[in-house]
Amino acid sequence: MFRSVRVSYGELGAAGKFFVYAILLLGLLLFAFPLYWMIITSLKELGDVHRMPMSWIPNPFKWDNYSQIFDDVPLLTYVWNTVIYVAITVFAVAISSALVAYAFARLKARGSGVLFAIVLGTMMIPPQVTLIPQYLLFNQFNWIDSYLPLVVPAFGGSAFIIFLLRQFFLGISKDLDEAVKIDGGGYATTFFRIILPLSIPALATAAILEFMYRWNDLIGPLIYLSTGDKYPLSLGLSNFTAAYAATPWNLLMAASMVAVIPPLLLFFFAQKYFIQGIVITGSKG
């Protein structure tokens, strides 16, 4: 296996590089605009937010907005609640889903096709119609106004992540399984020694997607939590919304910035794990 070869085929010529660069920069006008709009809105005075034509640079810069949001709501409590909640669920979903996905990708059993169809099927029912039965169920467990309805089911895995990991696991060479078998190892050994180490990028991708979903999810916390101090950020932000045009957009956007920065930083620094992870080579001895 020649790792250095990989670089030579991946390199672009100068013209190609320029082309890619130009397209990427042009696209940023579109893709970075929402972030830019949030930043400038978060620094405006409320009376300037709606002025037309839009001012591209706040005048004056109202840095106070950022201190005010921390005075108005327990923002740090929300951040803390979210971090704990997201950390537990992402971990639970990633581990459980990996186990289940391994079974669907690598093990033969009667009924596995039907079960896999059910796993996929659970994604196809619009959540709006299962909301009430689910609430009744968790009410019966006496779990309302706690994170239990959101956290405990995560240990059963997520259909989306199971499906995603299954697709990745299908692409891992079966020879390695055979090798473990010949050495007398069981399925658990295969999973922990072969599949997991080889799927770090896939697992990291799954984790980041689950992270983003949990970080932003509003409806789950909205239905199950009622005590303000327990709110995660997604729900806590709504404290800055009001009906009938009374929403303080500058404060809402400042608070939203606080909510957006952690995932952005995480994405920026963690991408080497999920995007530039190890390469599964095609050479198989």
Binding site: V49, R51, L136, T227, N239, A243, A246, W249
Partner: protein
């Protein structure tokens, strides 16, 4: 095949266990205590849940109310739940289905509105409380108090009563030398033609995004626009029985006049922004706040929503027309039918509307028009300070809005959210000029009739 039978058997067993589990949960949930406390008798500690929509302007008042009430009533704990208005219906229906309902809330702070929840049976008849403690709420305007009296049963105690007005941007008027509109609702010279003339003088540079100014925008829903011309898409009984019944879309000739007038503002005179232009802005806020619309017909929440505007603005009556009616927006406090602690909830509501305490503080904090007559003078003063208008002018404006006012359709007709979606779909193609008003009215009538209730 054994494989298939085995799988089927397995699945069957699975579903069976699940449905049993679910069945149990359903049976028991109705008996579950509403807020975690069992028994409400005697000196036991009781917790009531107070559900409100999120509003940064109200949160201090809400905390103040809870602290004060709990101090006076050490055996009652009030738990506050705040939910954004856009999601409140989802949350409420879920809670109602489980029997785990909030004790005190305002159905108009959900998109479905009072009538929908009243018809559903989610609200408690408060008549006996009111008769017993009539002295405590005697200063609430009787006309407004009667709005939520259905079949002689009162389901809500009004807290605020907001009228409808025409708000105008004084700077744009001054720049073009256009005289301000009056403040007298009985001034018949201030009619829709007069409004159109002013709008034409104020409109300029339409199409040039940097300079354009639109004369007027009617942000009322299509049915409320017809009210302003003496029309109505529903029969009078609809508002008292809460049942839409036979629509009056085609039988009331004023409906056509009203909608045609608004279409002409947009399409013929080009003094009003196209619906599309409005949507882009209203995703974020109110078009009036752009500073590019000189006059806007809107609910009285403009009094505080327009507070942060960087230009001076004034308030005028909605133009005169024979049979003119304008919407009132009265928000009541209600108790859930299934509340485990109605007595404590009632006590809390009395505290919230007390003109010497809760009601007064609410007005001071939010600038919302109080339903309590004893607070009126203070509110006029407060608004006069805020807008730079004279106290008498504010008084004249608000009294006229109440006299000409009628409680809004979405609060009084059951499932109005569905009805208004139905009307708006067609209305948008009217404003865009894609359908004639006659065609549109026919279609609205047909679609309303096809709704199943």
């Amino acid at each position: 095949m054994t494989m298939k039978t085995k799988t089927t058997a397995l699945l069957l067993a699975l579903f069976l266990s699940v449905s049993l589990l679910y069945g149990c949960s359903k049976g028991k949930s109705n008996n579950a205590a509403s807020s975690g406390d069992t028994g409400s008798s005697g000196g036991d500690k009781v917790t009531i849940e107070w559900l409100v929509r999120t509003d940064p302007n109200m949160i201090d008042w809400e905390k103040d109310m809870i602290a004060g009430f709990q101090k006076d009533n050490p055996n009652i704990t009030v738990k506050l739940t705040t939910i954004p208005q856009a999601e409140i219906d989802q949350r409420l229906t879920t809670m109602i289905s489980s029997g785990k309902v909030p004790d005190v809330w305002s159905p108009n702070w959900a998109n479905s509105g009072f009538a929908s929840y009243m018809k559903m049976g989610a609200l408690k008849d408060m008549t006996s409380f009111i008769e017993r403690d009539s002295g405590d709420i005697s200063t609430i305007n009787q006309q407004i108090m009667d709005i939520y009296k259905i079949d002689n049963k009162t389901y809500g105690i009004p807290m605020l009563a907001i009228g409808s007005f025409l708000f105008y941007n004084k700077e744009l008027f001054d720049k073009d030398g256009v005289p301000y509109p009056p403040t007298d609702w009985n001034d018949t010279s201030w009619n829709y033609d007069a409004m159109l003339q002013k709008a034409q003088k104020l409109t300029h540079d339409v199409g040039n995004a940097n300079k354009q100014v639109f004369g007027v925008l009617n942000s009322m829903s299509p049915n409320l626009q017809t009210w302003g011309f003496g029309g109505d898409m529903f029969k009078p009984e609809a508002y008292t029985s809460a049942v839409m019944g036979e629509p009056a879309v085609l039988t009331n000739p004023q409906n056509k006049e009203a909608l045609q007038f608004n279409v002409d503002l947009i399409q013929k005179h080009k003094v009003a922004p196209n619906q599309a232009t409005v949507d882009a802005v209203s995703a974020v806020g109110d078009p009036f706040l752009t500073g590019k619309v000189a006059m806007v017909i809107n609910g009285g929440w403009g009094f505080w929503a327009y507070g942060p505007a960087k230009f001076k603005w004034g308030v005028a009556p909605i133009p005169y027309h024979d049979g003119r009616k304008v919407p009132l927006f009265v928000d009541p406090w209600c108790i859930s039918e299934k509340s485990k602690h109605p007595e404590e909830s009632w006590k809390f509501i009395k505290y919230l509307v007390d003109p010497n305490n809760g009601g007064k503080k609410f007005m001071e904090k939010t600038s919302a028009t109080p339903a309590d007559t004893s607070l009126a003078d203070q509110w006029y003063q407060q608004m006069a300070d805020k807008t730079g208008m004279k106290v008498e002018e504010v008084k004249q404006l608000n009294e006229g809005a109440v006299q000409n006012g009628r409680e809004a359709d979405n609060h009084l007709i059951d499932k109005f959210a569905v009805i208004s979606t139905t009307i708006n779909q067609t209305a948008n193609s009217l404003w865009n000029g894609q359908k004639s008003v006659d065609q549109g009215l026919q279609e609205i009538d047909k679609n309303l009739r096809s709704l199943k209730f």
